[in-house]
């Protein structure tokens, strides 16, 4: 019982540990996957910025008067450059910042048929902050975690301009959050179910085993007792124990019956022996009387012997009738001579008959 409790406690602790470790591992793997995706996106944006920067330099160097154009004109020119550049980077949008103004924005792979050319207003403040970081430190970077997506912004600064790009990882946050929540809730429910299930099993086992233990203890003194039968494995054990007890009761009854029959047989044999002795005495006396009948030598004592043996038979039957109350032997001093004389008288006719017959032969 104590060993079983220890095992169940161990299993319970192991289940809780596994559930906790699984939750930690799942949370870490989801965060790890998110980090990988964001890291890959950063590399893509960095490459796109490098190419944007290169194309800006080529465009500016191709025409010395280009740098003197008004912003509106350079916006058109740079948009053509960014469109041609970012076409090779699916999902990436971006452009330049020249003199503090965002120019040449485009999103060529927007998917709406026409390239998107309006800077997204929702992200504009963060884009401008990233550009400012790039102007200060040479490079700027932002990872914005929204309710539905993650936005990665990257900017690289050159002498008179900043090239910047942005990519939305749409659906990642949403899926990650919902998947994480779902998995964590599932784990908590699974852990609770396993804990409750284990506790219920422990309690049920303890109760069932205690019932079996007390029942077995009672069975040692009360053979008629049956263990209470419940459901499950313990119920099957109780039923098996009850079957064994029932078999034992039947065997004991059979043994008692056989013992009774044996006792009756032994008593019958004893009775036959006890009856045969007086009958032999009576028969021999009667034979002797028959012989004496012709010579008229019959004595009263000869008849007393027969009467005595008949009385003995009567006493024997009286004892038999009083069998239920087996008489206790009463020990008392007796004269030995009368008993011997009685035996001699009983055996005398038999001895005389044997003696006369041997003489005759």
């Amino acid at each position: 019982m104590r060993r079983l409790q220890l095992q169940l406690v161990f299993v319970l602790l192991a289940a809780i540990s596994v559930a906790t470790l699984s939750a930690i591992l799942i949370a870490r793997s989801i965060r790890g996957a998110e980090r990988v995706v964001v890291g890959d996106t950063r590399r893509v944006l960095s490459a796109a910025n490098a190419e944007l920067e290169l194309q800006y330099s080529e465009r500016a160097n191709a025409d010395t008067g280009w740098a003197m154009l008004p912003d509106a004109a350079r916006d058109i020119s740079l948009r053509a450059v960014s469109q041609a550049t970012l076409r090779s980077y699916p999902g990436v949008e971006g452009g330049y910042s020249v003199g503090g103004r965002i120019l040449g924005y485009s999103y060529p792979t927007h998917g709406s048929g026409n390239p998107k050319i309006d800077v997204p207003e929702a992200e504009r403040p963060e884009i401008e902050r990233t550009i400012q970081d790039a102007q200060k430190f040479g490079r700027g970077e932002r990872v914005l975690r929204g309710s539905r997506d993650i936005v990665v912004i990257d900017a690289v600064s050159q002498s008179d301009h900043v090239a910047w790009t942005m990519k939305r990882l749409a659906g990642i946050t949403d899926a990650t959050e919902s998947r994480r929540t779902f998995l964590l809730i599932s784990l908590v429910i699974a852990a609770l179910v396993s804990v409750i299930g284990t506790l219920a099993t422990v309690i049920g086992l303890r109760k069932g085993i205690a019932e079996i233990q007390s029942g077995l203890a009672r069975l040692e003194t009360d053979f008629a007792f049956d263990l209470p039968v419940s459901g499950g494995e313990l119920g099957r054990i109780s039923r098996s124990v009850n079957r064994v007890a029932d078999t034992r009761r039947n065997l004991e009854a059979a043994l008692r019956r056989a013992d009774r029959l044996g006792a009756i047989g032994r008593m019958a044999a004893s009775m036959a022996h006890e009856i045969r002795n007086p009958l032999n005495g009576i028969r021999l006396t009667m034979q002797l009387l028959k012989q004496k009948l012709g010579s008229n030598e019959i004595r009263a004592s000869d008849l007393d012997l027969v009467i005595g043996e008949v009385d003995r038979l009567n006493a024997l039957l009286g004892d038999l009738l009083a069998f239920q109350e087996a008489p206790k032997p009463v020990l008392q001093d007796q004269q030995l001579l009368p008993i011997i004389e009685r035996c001699v008288e009983l055996l005398r006719p038999q001895a005389q008959e044997r003696f006369s017959s041997s003489r005759t032969t």
Binding site: P70, A84, P115
Partner: protein
């Protein structure tokens, strides 16, 4: 192409007063068209400067290819009825330059690539002519 250049020259002159920025851009477009024609004329001349080496031609063709990727945007942005024809011509010259480069005719490859470049410059200037320049600031007060 020369007739088109003439048309743009006339248009530029007509815009000089009303929209000097657009006039300048259209004038540049006309100039680019004339240069594109000149590069084609060079092909007919037996004498001329030696062409760049194959590496330089390949690099130039890469740049021209990138510029051609901007053609559709410039056509759309310019709104000019002749812009699409210029873009198509630029692509033809680019294909000619590629074929000449494959044949080892570096001079033809160089001139066709330059013609493509000029046609793209013309397209870009037509697109830039649509840009609205900032209004000039208020004139200083006379004292």
């Amino acid at each position: 192409m020369l007739a088109l250049a003439r048309t743009y020259l006339e248009k530029s002159e007509s815009l000089q007063l009303g929209s000097p920025f657009a006039a300048t851009r259209i004038l540049s477009a006309a100039d680019a068209l004339i240069r594109a024609v000149e590069h084609q004329q060079h092909l007919g001349q037996k004498e001329g400067p030696p062409p760049p080496d194959n590496t330089e031609i390949t690099r130039h063709l890469d740049r021209v290819y990138f510029r051609l990727q901007q053609a559709d945007y410039f056509v759309k942005q310019s709104g000019d009825p002749n812009a699409q024809a210029i873009a198509d011509l630029a692509r033809q010259y680019y294909q000619s330059a590629l074929r000449a480069s494959d044949k080892g005719d570096l001079r033809a490859a160089d001139e066709c690539a330059k013609s493509t470049d000029e046609l793209m410059r013309a397209l870009e200037n037509l697109a830039l002519s649509t840009a609205v320049p900032p209004r000039p600031g208020p004139e200083p007060r006379r004292q």
